[in-house]
C-alpha cells in the first residue's frame, strides 16, 4: 500500500524540533520554525522588546512555517518489532480541560502594544490612528465600536469615529472612507459590519486603501493569505485571534484535523486559510453541510463561527478536542441586567466535559480579536514610518 514516506519523515523532524523548542523556551513552538522561514520581512522596530511584540502580534509569525509538501508512494513499513508484554494501565479519570483565558492573553498583548506605541512616538513622532465608520443605530454594533475605541485609548492609539445615519447613501459612506484614506494621521480604517441592507458592502469595503485595511478584507490581502509563500499586509482580526489562542497554548496544528464551522470573510474563510498555512488538515462546515455533526466529531480542533447559539453540542465533539468558540450570540436571560446575555456557538456545559481545552464566551476569542485590531493598526503605523524614511 502507498505510504507517505517523506511527509511522515518531515512530520517526525518537526515533532522533534517542537519537542526541543518546548523544552528550551516558553515561546510557542512554531515561532522557532518560523525563524528559519525564507520570507520573514524586516520590521521598523529593532529593540528586543520590539521583536517580542512582533512575534506575538503581527503577520509573519502568525503565518506559520514554510515547509515543502513532499509526498511519496514508496512502501515504508519497517519490520515489526517482537512485542514486549506491557502492564495494563489503570484507567485515570480525564484531566479537567484547560479553560483558555482570552482576557489575560489580550491584556498581555495590549501591554506589549502600549510599549510599542510609546517607542513609535519617541523614535518617529508618530501616533498610530484608527478610524471607525459606524452606519446606523444597531445596539450590538454600537457596543462593539465602543469597546474598540476604549481599547485604542488604553494603548495610546488615537481613534476617529464617523457616525452616519441609517438613511445615508452609499456614496456618503464612501466619502468618509476616502477622507480617512487621505488623512495621514489615520493608519487603519474599519467599517463596522453589517451595513444597512441598501448598501453594497463589497463596494464600500473595496474603497478602503489596501495599506489601511486593518480588517484584512481586501481581496489582495485575502489572496496573499491563501497563497503560501506570500505575505498579506493584514489578516482578519478574529482569524488571527484564533491562531494566537492556539499557538500560545502550544496546540500542535501540523497535520491535525481542524473543522471550521462557518465560512464568512470575517472569521471562517481567513481562519481556514490560516490553519492551512500551519499545515492543519482543514474541513469547512457551513449551513449547507449534510450532517455537520459527523464531520465535526472527527476534528482534533473545532473553530466555530456560525453565529448560532449552542449549535455545537457535546455529542458533536471527540474526546480531547480543542474548541475555539468565536460565536457571540445574544440569548434571552431575565436575570441579566439588559434582559439578555451572550453565549457562544458551542454548548459550553456539554463541551467542557469532552474537550481538552476550550474558550469561554465571553472572555475567550472576543478580547483577543480586539487586541489583534490594535496590533494591525500598530503594524499599519509602522509600515507608514518605514515607507516615509
Amino acid at each position: 500500500m502507498a505510504a507517505l514516506t517523506w511527509g511522515r519523515l518531515v512530520k517526525r523532524k518537526m515533532a522533534a524540533d517542537s519537542a526541543s523548542a518546548s523544552a528550551s523556551a516558553s515561546a510557542p513552538v512554531l515561532f522557532s520554525l518560523l525563524a528559519r522561514s525564507r520570507r520573514c520581512h524586516a520590521t521598523v522596530g529593532t529593540s528586543k522588546e520590539d521583536e517580542d511584540t512582533h512575534a506575538h502580534s503581527t503577520s509573519p509569525s502568525i503565518l506559520g512555517p514554510d515547509l515543502p509538501d513532499i509526498w511519496s508512494s514508496l512502501p515504508t513499513s519497517p519490520p515489526r518489532p517482537i512485542p514486549i508484554p506491557i502492564p495494563i494501565p489503570i484507567p485515570m479519570p480525564p484531566a479537567p480541560p484547560t479553560i483558555i483565558d482570552g482576557k489575560s492573553i489580550a491584556q498581555e498583548i495590549r501591554s506589549h502594544i502600549s510599549k510599542h506605541v510609546i517607542n513609535l512616538k519617541n523614535s518617529y513622532d508618530k501616533v498610530p490612528g484608527l478610524a471607525v465608520i459606524l452606519v446606523g443605530h444597531r445596539r450590538d454594533s454600537q457596543s462593539y465600536v465602543r469597546y474598540k475605541i476604549k481599547a485604542c485609548n488604553e494603548v495610546g492609539i488615537t481613534s476617529f469615529l464617523a457616525q452616519l445615519p441609517h438613511s445615508c447613501s452609499e456614496d456618503e459612506v464612501i466619502d468618509s472612507v476616502t477622507r480617512f484614506n487621505e488623512d495621514p494621521s489615520v493608519h487603519g480604517i474599519l467599517v463596522q459590519l453589517p451595513l444597512p441592507q441598501h448598501m453594497d458592502e463589497e463596494r464600500i469595503l473595496g474603497a478602503v486603501s489596501l495599506h489601511k485595511d486593518v480588517d484584512g478584507f481586501h481581496p489582495l490581502n485575502v489572496g496573499n493569505l491563501a497563497l503560501r509563500g506570500r505575505q498579506p499586509l493584514f489578516i482578519p482580526c478574529a482569524a488571527k485571534a484564533c491562531l494566537q489562542l492556539l499557538l500560545r497554548h502550544q496546540i500542535d496544528l501540523v497535520g491535525k484535523h481542524a473543522v471550521v464551522i462557518g465560512r464568512s470573510k470575517v472569521v471562517g474563510l481567513p481562519t481556514s486559510l490560516l490553519l492551512q498555512r500551519h499545515y492543519s488538515t482543514v474541513s469547512i462546515v457551513h449551513a449547507f453541510t449534510h450532517r455537520p455533526e459527523e464531520i465535526t466529531r472527527e476534528a482534533d480542533i473545532v473553530i466555530s463561527a456560525a453565529g448560532v447559539a449552542n449549535l455545537v453540542r457535546g455529542s458533536w465533539l471527540k474526546r480531547g478536542v480543542v474548541v475555539i468558540d468565536v460565536g457571540t450570540n445574544p440569548i434571552e436571560d431575565p436575570d441579566s441586567e439588559h434582559g439578555y446575555r451572550l453565549t457562544g456557538d458551542v454548548h459550553f456545559d456539554e463541551a467542557v466535559k469532552v474537550a481538552s481545552a476550550i474558550t469561554p464566551v465571553p472572555g475567550g476569542v472576543g478580547p483577543v480579536t480586539i487586541a489583534m485590531l490594535l496590533s494591525n493598526t500598530l503594524d499599519a503605523a509602522k509600515e507608514a514610518c518605514r515607507s516615509s524614511v
Copy 2:
C-alpha cells in the same frame, strides 16, 4: 437537539429547483440558479451562440449560485409517520461507473470557442492572442507547451512563444513578461511552471498584468475567487476543468463532502475555493495530513492533485464516490514508445470498482484544462474589446 432548519429548507428548495431544471433542460442544473444571481456581469458577445459558450466556458457560471448561509437552531423534527411495511428489495449488482470522457467535453468546448473567435474577428477585427514563456529544457514542460500552442492554432487563437535558456536571469524572464504585457495583440500570458530553482516564481508571476493573467495565479484573482460575492477575472484552468467535468455530468455539489488532495495554487487551492462557492463541504488533504485515507473515505467527491502515482487506492474510497483525477505522473513502462506512460494519482483499476463516476488519465482532466486556457484567453480578448469601446 439543534437542527439546521433554514439551511435544510433552502437545500430542499434547491433540490426541487434542480429536479425541475433537470426535467426541463439539458444545461447543468446550477446554471439555472445562477441566472438569479445578482452579480452576473455583461459579456461582449450578445448572440445566442455567444451566451451558450459563455455558460459553458467562462467565469460567472463556473462560480456557482449566490445563496445565503442561513443557520437555525430551532427544533424541526416533524412527527414521525406510521411505518408502512415495504418489501425487501432483491440486491442488484452495482451499475458500472461512468467513465468521464474529458476528450469529448474538451472537443465540444473547443468547437464553441472556435465560433467565438470567428465572431470576434468579424465584429471587432480582433484575434485573441496567447503568449507562452518557457524557460529551460524540461521535456514535460516542452510537451505541455506544444499541446497548448497546437490547441490555440486549432481554434484560431494566435500563439506567441518566448523560449529562454535554463541559465537566463530572473530579470530576462521579467523582460519577456513586460514585453507581452505591453503588446496589444497578446491577451493572455502563461509562464510555464516549474521555473528553474534559481528564480523567484512569485516575483515573475507577479509581473504578469492582472488583465492577462489567464492562469489565474494573481493574488487579486485568488482573493476574488475566495470571497463570495466577488468575481475573479480568471480562475486557474485545472480548477475550472474539474468543475466543468462535475457540472456537465450533473453531479450534485451542494452540501456534498468533497475531499481535495493537494493544495497547490495551480489545482488544489483554487479547486477547494471553487467547490466552496458551489456549497460543497470541502476538506483539504495534503502531505502533512495524518491518515489521509480515513478522511478521503468519507468523501462523496474526491479531487486528487497530489502528483503521486497511484496514491489513492480503492480502499481510500467510499462506494459511489465521484473521482476526478488531476494527477499526470510518468511511470516506467518498457512497452511504451518512450519507455514511460502517464498515470493518475488514483489507482484506476481499483477505484473503478468502487466509484460511480471517474476520470481516466490520460483523457480526463487534461484536455479540459487546455480548453479552459483557451476559454480564459478568449475572455481576456473579449474584455479588451469591451474596455476599448
